[in-house]
């Protein structure tokens, strides 16, 4: 793999860019691998990459039913942060954020990780206290966090509504190291880097069954034939229930729709990521100039990848309530992803009751920022057969044991998490 660099770009520019190689190889599947990862999204590709880079395991295939990177990694609002309450969560997401911070150099691919800050607005004293509890928890765990008053928020984001709001802004919890990244580039960057280290990425290959013998996994049935594997990892956000069912597992997961929107590109209006505390709305401006925003789940089980009007109306209304200048801008595109919702809003990176079968899912709508950390932890779990301490809490049996990690306190209603 030849490195990407400005020098290479100049060199290629002089000869019509004819010399760029494929970003990732496209091999035919081999009969068997040490490890097969089902799902060529962000999490699957990152897991494969870290298997190769951290654990030196390259007898690995990532199997994707369509083209890579077109699931949730290609349909989100690109926010990266580690501003969580529970130590189990904030340590994990902080690991992920630290990996993000060096990802361009690590992958030799510009994923445009941009740490322009994530600002959570609060609108009441009790909300301030809840945010402070979270911010203080972050600080105790060595993560950056700042509590801004109203004027501090105004300095950060002067376009917010400071004088006509139904729910006036009282202040905000800021994580300066948070920000956004270029979502597609994350999938492509991990794919290229994993492929470069010898991982096989097999597109257009749908898994139709998980073969087991004597309670342990032996491989996967696919539309391109059986592929043997000593270990199989599932990383198929949105369809986790379907794939797990192939191994006879019923999960604490429901699939729900989340819509997102992007406006036409305009000159810089908003520098950081802002989340609304009196509703469900978040917004940032991409480097291209589009305002990228989203809101709440559509709120019913769905695999449809398309949203409906009521949520769009609510999101736009909240959007204008936060950033009045949105009113005269135009929304260009709307899309929807399928979220694996769990009963506590926290993820699953764990072993399963089937030996050799491992699960990575339940990302709810926070999967994008987790990609490097999730890949790193899942690689560890796949390679060693045991979870890393950073993902030790993300088990399936936490619900049976009463050790849920419910950041919002919303309880086991998937659509409310």
């Amino acid at each position: 793999m030849k490195d990407y660099s400005v020098w290479r770009l100049l060199e290629e520019g002089m000869r019509g860019h004819q010399g760029w190689p494929r970003a990732w190889r496209e091999p035919a599947p081999r009969p068997a691998y040490d490890i097969v990862i089902i799902g060529g999204g962000g999490h699957g590709l990152a897991s494969a990459y870290y298997l190769a880079r951290v654990h030196g395991l390259t007898d690995v295939a990532v199997i994707e039913k369509g083209p890579i990177g077109l699931g949730n990694v290609g349909r989100n609002t690109t926010i990266v942060r580690s501003n969580y309450l529970y130590p189990e969560n904030n340590r994990f997401y902080e690991k992920s954020l630290q990996l993000w911070e060096g990802l361009e150099q690590d992958l030799n691919f510009n994923v445009m990780m941009s740490q322009r800050g994530v600002l959570n607005l609060f609108h009441s004293d009790s909300q301030r206290d809840a945010f402070a509890r979270r911010g203080n928890s972050m600080r105790l765990n060595g993560i950056d966090a700042e509590l801004l008053d109203r004027e501090g928020v105004r300095a950060m984001a002067p376009v917010l509504d400071f004088d006509n709001a139904r729910f006036p802004i009282h202040g905000g919890l800021l994580q300066r190291r948070g920000g956004t990244a270029r979502h597609d580039a994350v999938a492509w960057g991990f794919a290229r880097a994993a492929s470069g280290r010898g991982v096989d990425i097999i597109q257009h290959c749908e898994v139709t069954g998980i073969r087991r013998e004597g309670g342990r996994v032996t491989g996967v049935e696919t539309t391109r034939g059986f592929i043997g594997a000593r270990k199989v990892g599932i990383a198929v956000a949105g369809h986790t229930s379907q794939v797990a069912a192939m191994a006879g597992l019923s999960l604490p997961v429901e699939s729900h729709l989340l819509q997102a929107f992007v406006s036409e590109a305009v000159k810089p209006l908003l520098d950081c990521v802002v989340t609304f505390g009196a509703g469900h709305f978040y917004i940032s401006q991409s480097d291209k100039g589009g305002l990228v925003f989203g809101g709440n789940l559509d709120g019913y089980n769905s695999y449809a990848q398309r949203g409906t009007l009521p949520v769009a109306e609510e999101v736009m209304a909240e959007g204008i309530a936060v950033v009045p200048a949105l009113s005269r801008l135009r929304v260009l595109r709307q899309w929807a992803g399928i979220m694996d919702m769990t009963p506590d809003g926290s993820p699953l990176i764990c072993k399963t009751p089937v030996e050799g079968l491992f699960l990575n899912g339940g990302w709810c709508y926070g999967g994008f920022k987790a990609i490097p950390g999730s890949g790193w932890c899942f690689a560890h779990t796949l390679a060693t057969g045991e979870p890393h301490e950073l993902n030790a809490a993300f088990t399936l049996d936490r619900f049976r044991n009463g050790r849920a990690l419910d950041e919002k306190g919303a309880g086991p209603a998937w659509w409310a998490q």
Partner: protein, 96 residues
């Protein structure tokens, strides 16, 4: 946007309803034990296809309505009052 035929009120927009989840799980008997209550609260079939589910007509008659809906196509095949059975969900699902 879903148009839900409330058995009490007639066809209404989804915006009048609150979703209340899988209608196939039933609360175990009091003595059923921890596993049964764990599954009741946490474990879901989450089908890609026909799904029997509760929609609460909070913006209308405040009745819980049982709806047979396809989670892939969003087609609604049947709605029923809480006490009425739904036709057995068809095994067929629309291919992806």
């Amino acid at each position: 946007m879903h148009q839900i035929d409330c058995p009490w009120c007639g066809v209404r927009d989804e915006a009048e309803f609150k979703y209340r989840g899988d209608a196939t799980v039933t609360r175990p008997a009091a003595g059923a034990g921890a596993d049964a209550f764990h599954d009741y609260v946490h474990t879901r079939a989450n089908p890609k296809g026909w799904h029997a589910e509760w929609w609460h007509h909070t913006g209308g008659c405040r009745q819980l309505v049982k709806v047979l809906r396809n989670t892939l196509t969003h087609e609604i095949r049947q709605t029923a009052r809480a006490a009425e059975p739904l036709a057995a969900p068809s095994p067929e699902t629309t291919p992806t």
